[in-house]
Symmetry: C2
Subunit: 454 residues, 2 copies
Amino acid sequence: MEPLISFELSIEFKERFQQALDERDGGFITTCLESVNPADISALLYEFDSEECKYVLNLLPKEIGARILEDLEGNIREGFIQAFGAAELASFIELMDSDDGTDILYEMSVRDRNEVIRKIEDEEKAANLMELLEYDEDVAGGLMAKELIKANLNWNILQTIEEIRKQAENVGKIYSVYVVDDQENLLGKVAVKNLILAKSNAKVADIFDEKLISVDTSTSKDEVVDAMQKYDLEAIPVVNARGKLVGRITIDDIVDVIRETAEEERQLMTGVSADVEEDDSVWKISRSRLPWLIIGMAGGLAGAQFMGFFKEEIIIVPALAFFIPLITASGGNVGIQSSAIVVQSLANPNVFASSIVKRLLKVFFVAIVNGAILSLMVFGSVILFMKEEPLAATVAIALFSVVLLASFMGTITPLLLNRLGVNPALASGPFITTTNDLLGLAVYFSTAHLLYNL
Amino acid sequence: MEPLISFELSIEFKERFQQALDERDGGFITTCLESVNPADISALLYEFDSEECKYVLNLLPKEIGARILEDLEGNIREGFIQAFGAAELASFIELMDSDDGTDILYEMSVRDRNEVIRKIEDEEKAANLMELLEYDEDVAGGLMAKELIKANLNWNILQTIEEIRKQAENVGKIYSVYVVDDQENLLGKVAVKNLILAKSNAKVADIFDEKLISVDTSTSKDEVVDAMQKYDLEAIPVVNARGKLVGRITIDDIVDVIRETAEEERQLMTGVSADVEEDDSVWKISRSRLPWLIIGMAGGLAGAQFMGFFKEEIIIVPALAFFIPLITASGGNVGIQSSAIVVQSLANPNVFASSIVKRLLKVFFVAIVNGAILSLMVFGSVILFMKEEPLAATVAIALFSVVLLASFMGTITPLLLNRLGVNPALASGPFITTTNDLLGLAVYFSTAHLLYNL
């Protein structure tokens, strides 16, 4: 038995491994990777360059190499794909499930892709890959694998087991055997547990379960994720528009989708565009952050231009300037809170989604409560510390209006983005903070202008 | 076969259902819920009150009721638990896997909990629940279920299948049969696929797979999630400190953990404390948001106090005030970007994590590049539009310093929080934005003070 962390990668090990790589000491490398899980080898390979990784991969059994290639991500896999020839890639892809093979082909140019497919010897595998490449990456068809076990309604258990035996090499994990009729229409499933418990002369038709949740090739990725989570499924069959069984999506791929979605959302919310990791180059990290910073800066310059109109007010009442950060920060905080709750409810849609009017009404009431409480606190503080009533009134009225306005913007923006097909999480990002800053300033100085000229 | 959305809940259906509830029309309710998936019934029940839900649950088969109770979340489950007596709850819990039963017991007071456990008739189930309640909710022991299939090393396949038959009712899904010796030490597993394919007189000892990843009862929740994702597992066995098999964690629970973690992080980042949904009451939503808004407001007031020291500068150069939002917003944006990348790498730890010095050096270089670019752009813009060199220099120098400082703060804060055992995502939230605002103001006005008094 293998405990959880069997393969602790120390700096010493990394250095020893690097030395073995430099000396092309194949014996050492094969010995020390012999009983290591492919997923751990993938993690190790991130530390070395493409040529070195290629050398390691060629030392290992082809089967292990295919597992490693499946696991790798981003830059390092790109490097690999370039380091290998079409024939070598084809031989790895031949050992993968069709969905993992398709993922690799997606990353290549159409020309290279076709060359690899031509080198694949297994005709069926090649046909499967070509079929899967037709689907969009964001729908069930683009997530599914062709590998699955199916049984005809009229077979008996022995025949079904014989089919499993034939397919056993190709299908990694069996959760259920899908039941089809002679026209390949999906009718139901037999859980492996029941297969084990059934008498060997029993007919599939007698023991199969008609209650089966399936998706269509065109079902969106998000719906597949929701369904598998809601119904606690470890695999879901995929049918085409005519109800014929064409593939299967397994939970391990869904777990990856959930993690990627969460990461994407975080990137949108924090203004770090593109897939950047902490160990990317300084220049790559800078570039990924600059666009958002420039948007923020442009907003700041626009704000400065705007405040230029109120120069007189500031000269007469310099204390007006003191509360600029309070106004902009509160607008930003309220806006982000409001957008967050909308983004959350868009991500987990309720069965009876409230109408937009009802939503806005509630947001409006929450804003009135919070705005009133904050304004009173600020009013009291300004009176207490600065003893200037008109200033206290200006700040309090402006703050109340900003809370109302920012709540409205924070609610409406993600709904609009969603309607436009853009990820609503963008509405919790720097773009909105900038807009809210400008709105806040406009409200604040307009209020000041009005009150001081009364 | 059941397509994905078989049970579309329309407003009309909801109203018709409410009418049936008002009239206590059990016939209508049972008929229309007969073939509906329990997960869909749970979603429907969120629309009605505890008493009505209890009425529905009592109409349905006990088994279905148990599934529904497992699925429900938050307030509505609390309401349910209060609506049922101890004996009724015990009869539902008896039909659940031990981990789901434990989740419900966790939500009750110790007194109520013990009363429910006393009412459970199945001695073994009661013992299992009491064992699971001992574990912390954040470790493998608190996630696992006691239900699993195990086989002794010396059995043959027929004996193993007999064991599955005996256990079949209690164990929902079988992925692997775990292999133990006479002392219950976990030795390996047999995949169900191999069980089907093996000859019935074969010995477990001959066909079992020693390569098996397991966790300890005390392994942290995060490590379990990472391991199951990394190794694409649908179930992981749990052993105690002495290597004996004590439970199993399945992927459906892990999927829930991943989603909850992402949601928690979003809450920390957007300053919406406590578990609040869009359809909670106005007062509950207000209350959950106020603490963060008050922190922001207090920061704003502190900023106002601070700026009071620079009243003279503002009167002489009122344009200084114009750039306050630019400075605070840029500091906020840079801080959040920096913290986000640290939070991300803390969530997906690399095998060779960079040292803190190396990290800070890189952050420093990125900040210098971005700070320089932004400062030059601002300097140019101010010269162009306002034609005031000292002002342009003040804003540019302050912006550069703020970018540097905010990057440093954004990097160090999540690392510190993590060291202190606090969720580092808090560092991307309103608390840090407030701190950065204050820092930015301090830098800006100090620079102005220095430059204008030269």
